[in-house]
Structure formats: C-alpha cells, structure tokens
Amino acid sequence: MAVGDAHPLQHLTGDNLSVQRPCRAAVTLLIAVALGACSGRQSALDPAGEEASQVAQLFWVMTLGGALIWAGVIALALYASRWKPHAVSDKAAGRLILWAGAVFPVTVLTALLTYGLWLMPSLRPFAQQQAASLTIDITGNQFWWHVVYRLPDGSEVVSANELRLPVGQRVEFALRSADMIHSFWIPPLGGKMDMIPGRTNRLSLMANRTGTFRGQCAEFCGTSHAWMALPTVVMPADQFEAWLIARKAPSPGLVADDAGARLFLGQKCGSCHRVQGIAAEGKAGPDLSHVGSRLSLGAGLLENDIENMARFVSHSGFLKPGSQMPFYLTLSETERSDLSRWLKGLQ
C-alpha cells in the first residue's frame, strides 16, 4: 500500500481489468477497493507505528465481530417479522430475551473489554519511568505547530509545522497549547491527544517504518481548523541524527546580506518569526530558520516552492482564513520574489 496510492477507482482503468474474466476482475476490484480504502498517508488503518498497528488490529477484530452480530440480529428481526412460518410460544420468546438480549452481550462485551483494557498500558507507557531518548515539545497555535526537539544532552532544536522522527525509537511528546484546544494526531502512528491551555499532556509514540505521513489537528480550533496539518517524516535513525545536527546551526543557505533578508527585517517579519543567524527572534509565528527545506508551507497548506511562498506572504489570511498573519499586499512583485527566493533558500 504505497503512500499516496489513494484513488481506488484508478484500478478501473488499469491493465489488470480483463473483459474476458469479469468474475476475477470483480474480485480483484473488490480487494483493490478494500485495500485502497484503507491506505493513505493519513490513514489509521495503514499503520506505521506501534500504537496504530495494535489499534488497527483491534479495529479489524471488532469490525468482523460487529458485522457478524449485525447480520445475526437483522436476520433474526426479519425472520421474526416476515419469514417465520408460525408464532413461537411466549416462553420461547422470553428465553430469547434472556439468552440473546442479556447473556450473549454480557459475555461478548466482557471479553472485548478485557482485550481493550489489556492493550491500554502497553500502548501508552508514558506513565512509566523510562528513558525516552528524545522528547519533543509541541505547542498548538491557531493554526500552526511549534515544535522543539529536546536532546538528551540538554540542547534543543526549534522548528515548526513539520515533524521528523527516528524509526524504531520511542519518542515522548509534551503537548501544550498557546490559545485554543487543539489535538495532536498522526493517524498512521497512533491515536490523538488533546492540547489544552494550562495543561501539559504527555504522549509517547514509536514509529516502526519509514515514510512520509500527515498529521492533523483533530479538535475544532477556529476558522482554519481545516488547514492545521502536520507533515511527518519518519527517517532511519542515523539520517535523523544528521538532520537534527544540521538544524542546530543556521541554514547554510542563509545569505544575511541579501535583498530578501533586508526586506524580511525591514517589514518587521522578525517580530513574529525567528530565523537563526539574523536578528529575528519573534515567537508569535512559526520558526522559519529552515523553512525552505520543509515539505509544505502554512502547516500542510501549500507545496513548498517559491511561487507559493510569495502567495503565502501576500495572501496568508485569504489562503488560511482567520490566520493571525497580516496581508503583505503592498509588496511589489520584485520584493515578493526577492523575499520568497531568500526564504526558500533557508534549506
């Protein structure tokens, strides 16, 4: 199930749909739809993490059991109302209530609950003392994510709107909010946890395969709640290390004496945004130190290229209604292109 392989109808046009073998084709199509329906970079049923795998398994068990129970109840209801040859005795009907209405659900639910509760402590072991090699502080904002990697040596790397994780390592998250309630959720890795003003919620996740996924705020947090995504990249541990080390320093692409840099400071972008290596220490908006290397702009809103960078700078509140960032419509075409080229250069 490849990432982005999302459109099951595309199988209709594929070569494998043979006209001569409609039956087989239909089966193939069904399987393709079923599998296609579960895949996707934001799918909880296409797991890439410990918690998500176990929950997906729990889901399939419950779905299968639920489907059987549903079919049984409906068949019985139809039998009772339409198909039965003659009425049964009151006594037999009473026995049905006892066994099918009371005893059966008690048994099934007890078993299911035991399974579900047994899963819980191992899924979210944040209550236990353990040496998580890495802690990541994530703070939800309207409508973006502030991300701080806390390394075991005490140093930290600040980023925003994108998450990088090492595969096979348990990572602990400290989740907070700067304004509204948000909810941190990367479905392929695990379930969600709310970010509540005044509280710190802890969650730990372990990715078990590499890939690019999409997280998204799950608690309605205002006008542009729909555009608060968190692209997530799970990398091999060594690449992740290298990536982190590179982020400790200013971007190698940073040209401090550039028209773009002058505009950035001149337009007071630095009062909201931080860029390592120049006098921009703002905290109200996302950190832009390495913005050019991110997968997306505006928390999953746009593809990261120079053109979109320019669009976002001038029209953020239009692209992302309710966004706190002002419109920069007064910038000339050249200024916009200078600024966005410079920002894109922050790799």
Binding site: I97, T223, G322
Partner: protein, 835 residues
C-alpha cells in the same frame, strides 16, 4: 317521555356542555389555547420545521464538502452551518419532538382529560418557539454560533466566537427552561393523572419511558444550565471560570457539558424506543413479551447514561484508570440496549406481524441503530477511540445512532399516530417510497464516513486537500445526502398536501390495544369519560370499554360547573384521590414567554435596561398567573364523579399536584446548584492552593447568613402549622418576619465576599464564591416573594386554614432553600478553614 329518552337527553346536554368547556378558542385567539391537543401539535410542527431547517443546513455542509478545496461557502459560514445544524437537531428537534409527542399523546394514553398544568405546557412551547426562532434566525445575519455544538472554551469564550456564542448560551438556556417545564408537567402527569386502576405495572410502556426520560431531563439539563451560567459570566463580566491564567480550567466546561450531553443521547433515544414499544405490539397483534424486562432495561439505561460522560473526553489526557472505568461503563450500556431490542424481536416472534409502513420504519430503524450501536461499542474502548475520536468515524457513528434510534422511530410514530391528528391516514405508497429513499440515502451518506474517518479525516473541517483519499468518499456522501433530502421532501408533501383530500379513516385503524385510540380527533376533551382500567391493553381485554367511555358511562362524564377537570389518582395504585381543576385558555402563558424571551434576547445584546424591565414584567405576569389561576378555593368541597364516587376538589400537601411540581422543580434546581458546588471542588482538586492566596469570605458573614436563613425557614414552617390550626394572625406575623429575616439573610450572605473585597475577575476562587452566594441570594429573593405572596393570599382570603396549598408548597420550597443555604455557607465559610 320515557326514562330512557330523558337520560339520553341528559347525556346529550352533558356532552354539549363539556364540549363548550373544552372548546378551542376561535380566530386569532386560537393561539391562546393551552389544551394539550393544540399545544402538542404546535410543538411537534415547530420541532419538525426546525428539523427541516437543520436538514437544509446539512445539505449546505455536504455541498461544500462534495469536492476538495471547494469555495462554495466561506470557512466562517461553514463553521456556523455545522454548529447550527448540530445545535438545532439536538436542542430544537430531538428533545422537543418528544415533549411534543408526549404532550399530545399522554393524556389520552393515560385516560386523562389533560396534563395537570396545561398553561405550563403552553408556556414551555412559546418559550421553545421564541428561543428557537432567535437561535435559527442568527445565521441570516451571519451571527450564528460557530464554535461547534458543544462550545468548548477557550474558543467559545474568546472574542473570535462573537455574539454567536451569547446567542447559543442565552437562547438555549431559555429553551432548557422549556424542557424542564415539560419534564415537570410530564412527571406529575404520569404519576398522578392516570386512569383509575392503571397501577404502575399496567402503565403503557410509552408512559414508563417518558417518566424515565423526564426524570433524566431533571438531572441532566441543570448541569448544563449551571455551565451556561458560569460561561456567560465569563463572557459578559470576565469572571475567569475557564481561563487557566487566572485559576480556571477549560475542562470544567467539558465535564459539565457532557454530564448533560451523554444522558441527552438517551433522553433522545429512549422515547423513540418507547414509540416502537407501542407500535410493535400493535402490529404483532399481541401484548409485549417481557414487559418487566423492557422497563428494567430502560431504567438501567437511564441510570448508566449518567456514568458515561468521560468517553467524550478520552483524548483529554485523563488518568488511564478513569479511562478504564468509563470504557467499562460505556460498553455496559450496550447490555440494557440489547435487552430492549430483543424484547421487540421476541414480541414479533411470538406474534403475527402485519408489515405496515410504520413497521417498515421500525425495522429499518432497528437495522441502522444496531449498526450505530456496534460502532458505539467500538468507540467505547479507549484505545480505539484515541484514533476515532473527533473524526468522521464519529460523525458516521452518531448519525447511525440518531437516525436509526430516533429519526426512523419518529417517522414510524408519525405514520402510526397520524390518524389521531385529523382522523386521516398518511399515504402508504408515499411512505414506502420515502422509507426506501431515506434508508438507502442515509447508508450512502454515512457509511463512507466511517472510512473517511479512519483514513484520517477530522470532523468540522470546512474543506480538505485532494490528495489524501477523502475526495470520492465525500462525493458519495454528498450524493447520499441528496437522496435523503428527496425522501424527506416526499414526507413533507404527504403531511401538508395529502391531508386535505384523504378520506377519513376508522377510529382505531390498526386495531391497537391502548387507550389513546379511544381518542376522537374532533374533540378536545381527551376522553369522554374516564374509565377504570384492568389491563395493559384495555381495548383488547375490556371489550365494551370503548363504547362505555364514549357513551359517558364512566367517571367524570360532566363539566357541570363549567370548569376543565381531570382526575388525580394515587402514585402507585392509581386510586382516585381528587378532581383537579386545570387551567384553561389564557393570554398569560404567551405574555410570560414573551417577557422572559425578551430578558434573554436583551441580555444577548447587553441591553441592560430592557432586560431589567422585561424581567419585572415577567415577574408580574407570573404572579398574576399564579394569583388568578392556582390554588383557587372551590365553591364546594366535593364533586360526584359518577358510579357512586365523590372526590374532593381541593387538596393540599403531598397529595396535591402542585406540591409534586414544586418538589420536582426544586430537585432540578438542586441539581444545578450541586453542579456549581462540583465546580468549587473541581477547582480545589486541580490546584495546590485553590484560593490563589486570596482572601475568602471569612466565617462570620456566611454563618450569620446561614443562621438567618434557618430562622426564616423556621418561621415559614411555624406559619404553616399555626395557619392549619386556625392561628391566622400568628401565621401572618410569622410570614412577615420570615420575609424580613430572608432579606437580612441574603444581605448577610453577600456581605461575606463583599466585606473581604473579593474581586471575581481576579481569580477563579473569588468568582466561584461569588457565584454560590449570588445563587443563594437569588433563591432568597424568590423565597421572600413567596412568603409575601402567602401573606397577601391570606389577607385576601384566598388562603385559609383548610385551603392552605400555597403555604404547603412554599414550605417545601423553603426546605430546599435551607439545604442550599446550608451547603453554600458551610462550603464557602468553613471549608477554606478546614484545609
């Protein structure tokens, strides 16, 4: 003239007089009617209209989501549309439609003329209608609430929420008042107004369910009202209940909201099951199998539903032990639900089923509901809920539950009971067409949402990108919504157009066994005479009953005194106790609802003066209503109700309907108060020092206030006793001194936080102390008015040693007042000293 013709003449005259007494007013005065037949119909039609409006909003929402990155409507309008869709469906349709059905059906089902407080019912309807129009209308001004139907702070307390949040809070508080009014009316009606002989174990299942549901409303709505109060105090006056920077906590709202919100689901679902419990035996042609099973299961569901609320908060980071407990409780509620479903299957199995249109909706609803119930069990398990919570999986789940467990049964009920409205049937063919459109439409709409949710689509997004795999799922959902719309449209056409030219049907077209089918749609009096009941299905088992009742051969067959009367019977065995005179046609209900509505609307726009003036007008209207319409001293002590039975007309104390109404209202009031006290201790548990280092109200003033309230309570109690023994002068003196003590007590209560300069905007501790003492002071003011009211009644000769109903009810109020004052002043005065 033979004796027979003479008695025939008497009967005809009796009938004519009764028809005149119960007549519906004509012309525009029609709207001043308070009779349950009209009020029930208006209530139901209004709720249905609100449902159609919310359905249109849903179509707008679906149209916006049909394709990715759609710009059909703005993000802001979308957020208003989904918020209003949920709000209207829950508060203006799902709950009120059952109040409507119950008001319409219950009297005739119980063999009563009327519910005990018809004017209260009419007042509730007008409040609901005014509040509903206000809330719905807001979207046409772009001012509708937009923070989601559960209004989480801090989003909903922030300035971003705009006036919409106030409209939500105040408009719905007003509607909740109406719901509680209906609950009081229904509980007293079911407990005290059943036909003689209808012991509790012979009650129609609909009455059982409504009794349970009304009880649940009484304990579920007040926490929300308390929450609304805290919320609005924060929005209007910046009291920081949910602001973490000043000691508050946004989670308190979630607790209060869901302590209401989860029972709410069962408040909606149980009456729908109740309709099925009436419909299925009729079409199975036999009594229900397992009557005690289903009653116990319904009671069990009611109780359990109060222990589930945290499953809406599984992702808020609560300790795992709470999650495990609430997971267990949430799965457990499936057990009584299963019992109820199998009672229906067993009944069908043991009967011969006629597969009519109502049955089609019933079985179809069952199929949908069971599916929603099974996904409900899935999300009850915390680990799965961590994934599913706040996604389209939940949207799918809740729509399966509500459509299968509520909407389809309502349509089954509509097709089943429609002949009671005008004696005509709805069209079978249109009904079947509508059923198949809605049934297929809802599966096409909501089934794909399960998949969309699991593929990561969060709820409440106004749009989504194209490349995640949600696009075709959403397109299918939108097409399904259109199909549902077609089915709904067919029903609307059937109800509105078909009615005129359909032929009149028979009286009991389905050959049902319960009393409501005695009903004569053209008459307003409920039942011609009130029979003695010996069976759960009297029309099946008491063969000549219908004829005897309609011939006026049973109890209370006359309205000789020109008054609207119904029988009051004992709570358990339904033995006749009293002839209750109920209120008739009156303007006072509309005036009260309009003035109270003005208070809420004016508060929304912060028009303080208007609000105050309307509040005073409301108080005057209510006092006028009580003064002229209640506790009237009858011209004779007893009335002969036929068959050698004579009953008192005036009863006071625990046997009277008014006493029960007071008791039930104050139970709801006490629940709201308990929610505020819960808030106090909630803040205490989340903070190491919950006073924030600020001064408390001290011990002196709270204890002084408590002592004064206790004295005032004693004075009221003594006044009742002196009055009863004929010491009228002493009683009056005691009432007057009680009123003065009450003023002093309320002032002393407020003096505590005042004297210690507690600033409610500084921190949550002073704010919660203030809100508690203000709560007591407002109740003190009401107690003061009641004491003076009794004094005035005594001076006006409307309250005597024998006729002391008002004094009994006021004393009962004061029992609750004493508990409220006691808890408040011990908590605010002594608790900080004890820790």
């Amino acid at each position: 003239m033979s004796d027979e013709t003479a008695s025939h003449h008497d009967k005809a005259a009796e009938e004519a007089q009764m028809r005149a007494v119960w007549a519906t007013p004509g012309g525009w005065r029609y709207w001043t009617s308070v009779n349950n037949t009209q009020v029930g119909l208006w209530y139901g039609s209004a709720a249905f209209a609100f449902m159609l409006f919310a359905g249109l909003l849903a179509l707008v929402v679906r149209a916006q989501l049909a394709v990715p990155e759609n710009d059909l409507i703005s993000a802001n309008l979308y957020n208003q549309a989904f918020t209003l869709h949920g709000t209207v469906m829950m508060f203006l349709f799902a709950v009120p439609i059952f109040e409507a059905v119950a008001i319409f059906l219950l009297p005739s089902m119980l063999g009563a003329r009327e519910l005990p407080f018809p004017r209260l019912g009419a007042f509730g309807f007008w409040s609901f209608f005014i509040g509903g129009v206000f809330v719905c209308g807001s979207i046409f001004f772009g001012a509708a609430p937009s923070a989601g139907w559960f209004m989480y702070p801090p989003l909903a307390t922030s300035e971003q929420a705009g006036i919409g949040a106030d409209i939500w809070l105040l408009g719905l508080s007003f509607i909740e008042v109406a719901s509680i009014a209906a609950a009081v009316e229904l509980i007293v009606g079911i407990m005290k107004c059943r036909a003689p002989g209808m012991r509790v174990n012979l009650m129609p299942l609909f009455a059982w369910y409504l009794l349970i549901v009304a009880g649940m409303i009484l304990f579920a709505f007040p926490p929300l009202i308390a929450g609304d109060l805290l919320f609005e105090m924060q929005r209007m006056f910046d009291w920081p209940f949910f602001d973490h920077t000043r000691g508050g906590d946004p989670l308190l709202w979630q607790h209060l909201f869901w302590i209401f919100g989860h029972p709410e689901v069962y408040i909606i679902f149980l009456p729908a099951i109740a309709l099925l419990a009436m419909i299925i035996p009729t079409f199975a042609g036999r009594p229900i199998v397992g009557y005690s099973w289903i009653v116990l299961a319904a009671v069990g569901t009611g109780f359990l539903s109060f222990g589930l609320w945290v499953h809406h908060m599984f992702a808020t980071g609560l300790p795992q032990i709470s999650l495990a407990f609430f997971s267990a409780a949430s799965t457990a509620v499936a057990i009584p639900t299963g019992v109820q479903i199998f009672v229906f299957i067993a009944t069908m199995l043991a009967g011969r089923v006629v597969f009519s249109t109502p049955m089609l909706f019933a079985i179809g609803g069952l199929a949908i509901f069971v599916m929603g119930g099974l996904t409900g069990v899935m999300v009850a398990l915390a680990p799965f809920d961590w994934q599913a919570h706040d996604t389209y999986f939940i949207v799918a789940h809740l729509h399966y539950v509500l459509i299968g467990g509520m909407l389809f049964p309502v349509f089954a009920g509509l097709y089943y009971y429609y002949p009671l409205i005008g004696g005509k049937h709805m069209s079978d063919r249109v009904g079947r067409f509508a059923f198949w459109m809605m049934f297929s439409g809802l599966n096409i709409t909501f089934f794909p949402m399960h998949i969309a949710g699991l593929r990561g689509m969060p709820r409440r997004v106004y749009t989504y990108p194209a490349d995640i795999g949600w696009d075709w799922l959403n397109l299918v959902s939108t097409m399904g919504a259109a199909v549902i719309g077609i089915g709904m449209f067919a029903v609307v056409v059937d109800v509105t157009l078909h009615r005129r030219n359909a032929p009149r049907g028979e009286r009991n077209p389905w050959n049902a066994g319960t009393l409501e089918w005695l009903n004569e749609p053209e008459e307003n009096w409920g039942v011609r005479s009130i029979p003695r009941i010996e069976s759960r299905y009297p029309l099946w088992d008491q063969k000549t009953l219908a004829q005897e009742v309609n011939a006026g051969e049973w109890y209370l067959a006359d309205a000789r005194e020109g008054r609207r009367e119904t029988l009051v019977t004992s709570v358990l065995d339904a033995e006749p106790e009293q002839v209750l005179r109920v209120g008739g046609t009156s303007y006072v209900t509309i005036v009260s609802a309009v003035t109270l509505g003005t208070v809420f609307v004016a508060l929304t726009f912060k028009w303080w003066i208007v609000s105050l003036a309307a509040g005073i007008a409301f108080l005057c209207a209510v006092l006028w209503w009580l003064w002229t319409g209640t506790g009237e001293i009858p011209e004779k002590e007893e009335k002969d109700i036929g068959r050698g039975l004579s009953l008192p007309i005036y009863v006071s104390g625990v046997k009277s309907a008014g006493w029960w109404a007071m008791f039930i209202t104050m139970t709801g009031d006490g629940t709201a108060f308990a929610s505020l006290v819960f808030g106090y201790f909630f803040f205490w548990t989340i903070h190491a020092d919950f006073t924030g280092g600020l001064a408390g109200p001290g011990m002196f003033w709270p204890l002084a206030a408590l002592a004064l309230f206790a004295l005032s309570w004693g004075a009221t109690l003594a006044a009742r006793e002196f009055n009863r023994r004929g010491g009228i002068a002493y009683a009056r003196i005691l009432l007057l001194s009680g009123a003065l003590l009450t003023l002093a007590a309320s002032a002393a209560g407020l003096a505590g936080p005042w004297a210690h300069a507690m600033d409610p905007t500084a921190h949550v501790y002073p704010a919660i102390v203030w809100i508690l003492v203000i709560w007591v002071a407002v109740h003190g003011a009401l107690g003061f008015i009641m004491q003076l009211y009794c004094l005035a009644r005594s001076l006006a000769g409307r309250l005597t040693a024998r006729h002391d109903m008002d004094l009994h009810n006021v004393t009962l109020y004061w029992h609750f007042m004493l508990v409220t004052a006691g808890v408040t002043f011990i908590v605010v005065g002594l608790f900080p000293e004890a820790i």
